[in-house]
């Protein structure tokens, strides 16, 4: 165990090889240059989606509220447009759909029709009583006729 510690300490005491001094300026200059040129210069080696996202961000970032407002307005217009057109389309669709009545429904309608006929009398008789084809008379004439009868 003691030998192991000695071995580790021996290794730990070794000084690392220093960075070549000539690298410093080059690396720092490159770092500054890349940072200044970003995001345009960062396109190398990146996926198209990341490049697109970076460019979109560059366009949208200066006025985020204006772009957000425009997007919201566009959504409102789209929603209104859909709301205005959809009901008409749905109604048309319903109108075009063939009506299918079940035998029970037909029977019920027939019963209601009979009941109505019993209550108000036959439609033909009412129409005969007040024919539309009768000649038009002044109201005073009609009144006098009714008094005489």
């Amino acid at each position: 165990m003691n030998g192991e510690d000695q071995f580790e300490k021996r290794l730990q005491g070794l000084p690392p090889r220093p960075v070549p001094t000539s690298w410093r300026e080059g690396i720092l200059r490159s770092a500054r240059a890349e940072a200044v040129a970003a995001p345009g210069s960062t396109d190398r080696g990146q996926s198209p989606s990341r490049i697109l996202a970076a460019r979109l961000s560059g366009i949208l970032w200066p006025h985020p509220r204006a772009w957000a407002g425009l997007a919201a307005l566009w959504l409102v217009v789209l929603a209104l447009n859909l709301a205005a057109h959809d009901p008409a389309g749905a109604a048309q669709e319903m109108a075009d759909r063939p009506v299918r009545q079940s035998p029970e429904m037909r029977e019920l309608l027939k019963q209601q029709e009979q009941l109505l006929a019993e209550l108000v009398g036959p439609l033909g008789a009412r129409e005969a009583k007040h024919p539309d084809s009768a000649p038009h008379q002044p109201r005073s004439q009609i009144y006098l006729e009714s008094l005489n009868t």
Binding site: L11, Q12, L14, S30, A35
Partner: protein, 170 residues
Amino acid sequence: MPPDSELERLYDQHATALFAFLLNFTRDEEDSREVLQEVFVRIARQPELIRTTRDERSFLIRLAHNAAVDLMRRRGTRQQHHEQFGREELSIFAAAADPDEAAFRAALSTALGELPPDQRTVVHLKLWEGLTFVEIAGILNLPPNTAASRYRYGLDKLRDLLRPFYEEIK
């Protein structure tokens, strides 16, 4: 972009350690320079990354490690070929005036090249960065026990490879 003085301070404080780590990991001086530059470019582009971190050194090593792993993946088989034939000549320690010491350092550099990269990385961070296994685990994104076992295996292998020198030390 951080102020120039801030970038320079980071370089002056951490470049030597990062270079030693990268040289040990990549086993190539040019690759180490490329990754080192990539790290500082990234910091220059996103200075908030370093401002929000507690431990600058660990954060920079993590950045360097990730960038080096990416580079190795890009290099692929070319790198493996380079590793096979280039590891003998590489020296990752400062030059020594004493011939015996120089020989020991050269032998250690070669022995480190014999380790798998995973073990080599942990050995470097433990021995020359003085990090705990928990800290190493955080940097390399692995369990602390795994970091500890990699260190043990790596150190045992180094001891075997350097046994002639080790006997002299004792």
